[in-house]
Amino acid sequence: MAAAASTRMSPPARTALWGFVLLWFVIAAFPFAWTVWGSFKVEGDFFSKADWTFALTGTLTQIETGGAFTGDGYYGAWVQEEFWKATLNTAIMVVCVVAISLTFGTLGGYALSRSTYRYAFWLLIAALLFRAMPPIALISGYLLPFYQWNLWGHLPTAIIVLVAINQPFTLWMLTSFFRNIPKDLDESAMVDGCTRFQAFRHVIIPVMWPGVITTGLFSLLLAYNDFAVTAMLLSKENQTMVPKIASFLGTTQTKGNIMFAVAAVVSTTAPIFLLVMFFQRQIVSGLTAGAVKG
């Protein structure tokens, strides 16, 4: 609808909508832009309690480093603290979590969306109640068996736990999307002699991408940003980005290097930007395939 509809929109409506987008752009992006700017300052400026304009003028940055901008945060995080190791671990973890979540989720979600037996409904409800369980309580329950069976500390353990914890969400989301794909598609394939799996493979898979990509995006962000699981279940050598960032923040009795954390956060946002730019075409391509009808 989009392109066609927007051209036919009345000018005042368009101005109002675009004005709204602009406003939202500022609300969503300003804190981040402020962070990007601040990541090139010293902590005393960016987190100043004396005067927030220090973050603009870089008063202390001048005094401490001799310039209005400094790359010390980036140097500290990436070179001194070897943040790239954590980035690598996160990359491995995120790819695996997304791939496994989506494989499990599309199979299950498809079956749930097509079954009219009562147990399908109750399975979805059960999954929802599973999700209601607070993750911290779950994780503290894992610790003892994981230590006992030598599962603690390894990336695969964190991956499968994240997949499982995220499975209710994935199932629900994909079921909702699959319900929007008309039943006639796979049913007519089955009338033509396909098995359920063949129908899924040849008819459903080609048209499911908008939903799957969107769900995948959330799995990705969940794994990428997870703190509870990764902080508690990974050993130091397998540590991912977020716990590493947390370790820059210090404790009650000691001060950390907050600017390392800020620099690390800023620099790891770039790959997400590329991913979103790449996949947003896929979300729309499902539409242009023209196969989806309501």
């Binding site: 609808m1 927007s6 209601a132 369980m133 309580a137 089955m190 979300i283 539409l287 989806v292």
Partner: protein, 352 residues
């Protein structure tokens, strides 16, 4: 690779089972079994501890102290490894439903207002007051906000949409650990946003962090800001599947843009809305991270925050955390029940 021919229109039990197996296995192993153990944990408590007086010495001299007599308690532990069975005692104690304390408050209070304030002084009900307010405010506003953003971004020229999707996602992308830290500094009375708010309000001493109502508002605004992107992306993807021919014919019939949204787009997006309402109600009821990141515990607490405290203290309260977890699940089930009943009707209509 044949799963066997199903009846057209429905998934046969066997193929259903095979499709759902991996997903189910993961959930049973890592969620259902832990929930079972949590249920068990919540009705057992550690054995009565035998305390003995001892003398402790260290770098700063000696002190009279006490410790647990391990030998005396070891036998009890060996006989009943789960601990002592206490039934619903933990659920009823002051840290949870506190029925006894409510009864006392009722008989001691001088009026309804006094009674309510006494009840809200109990941790569970104080937390519930905040959590329910938070859920009721943040859920609809975040979803509505996300919907409008989706419609607006969808009306942009194609070239701008990709970057705009990314920027819209930023509140979700930046890890809350750091995102909240930076926001918290920005809204400080001397931060950039805090100063801006002060000059807008014309009150140079205004501090968002010092007052309970302002802290609540701050947490809710943060909640909406950080979860609107989720609603936005789901709606944006949903908008791509809106049936074109229906829209075209509506346009030919002279429907205005608003009418098209009202009668074509919204009904099409309804299943997604239900889904999001379920997820967001649940997430908001379990609100936790903002309370920690914004050091807001003096003003607002939640059940998840209690669990965090029970598990994170010097002495862990496992049974208490388990009971709070079960109460959280029960609370979610109660809150979601209207949506679920609707879902059940839809499901039966689909069957028919």
């Amino acid at each position: 690779m044949a799963f066997g021919q199903s009846f057209v229109g429905d998934v046969k039990h066997k193929s259903f089972f095979l499709f759902i197996l991996p997903s189910m296995a993961a959930m049973v192993l890592f969620i259902a079994l832990p929930i079972l153990s949590v249920l068990v944990q919540s009705v057992f408590a550690p054995h009565e501890q035998v305390i003995v007086e001892v003398k402790n010495c260290g770098p700063f001299g000696c002190t009279e102290s006490t410790m647990i007599d391990q030998e005396a308690t070891e036998k009890l532990r060996a006989e009943q490894p789960l601990g002592r069975f206490v039934g619903a005692e933990i659920y009823m104690n002051r840290g949870h439903l506190a029925f006894g304390e409510i009864g006392q408050a009722w008989s001691a209070s001088e009026g309804l207002g006094d009674f309510v304030s006494r009840v809200l002084n109990l941790p569970f009900y104080g937390a519930l007051a905040f959590t329910l307010t938070y859920t009721a405010v943040v859920t609809p506003l975040a979803i509505a906000f996300g919907f409008v953003i989706a419609i607006a971004v969808n009306s942009l020229p194609r070239l701008f949409r990709g970057p705009m999707i990314f920027f819209s996602l930023l509140p979700m992308i930046v890890t809350p650990l750091i995102g909240a830290l930076i926001l918290f500094w920005m809204i400080d009375a001397r931060g950039i946003l805090g100063s801006a708010i002060q000059s807008i309000a014309g009150d140079p001493n205004l501090s968002l962090k010092a007052s309970t109502p302002l802290t609540w508002i701050m947490l809710m605004v943060y909640g909406i800001w950080s979860s609107a992107p989720f609603a936005f992306v789901v709606y944006y993807a949903g908008l791509q599947t809106v049936p074109q021919d229906t829209l075209e014919s509506a346009m030919i019939d002279g429907a205005t843009r608003w009418e098209r949204i009202r009668y074509v787009v919204l009904p099409h997006l309804l299943p997604l809305t239900t889904f999001m309402a379920l997820i967001k109600i649940m997430d908001n009821f379990r609100v936790f991270e903002p309370i920690v990141s914004f050091s807001a515990a003096a003003h607002a607490q939640s059940l998840s925050y209690f669990i965090f405290q029970d598990l994170g203290g010097e002495t862990r309260l496992l049974s208490s955390a388990a009971a709070t977890s079960v109460l959280t699940i029960a609370g979610v089930a109660i809150l979601l029940s209207p949506v679920l009943v609707r879902n059940w009707r839809d499901f039966n209509r689909m069957r028919a």
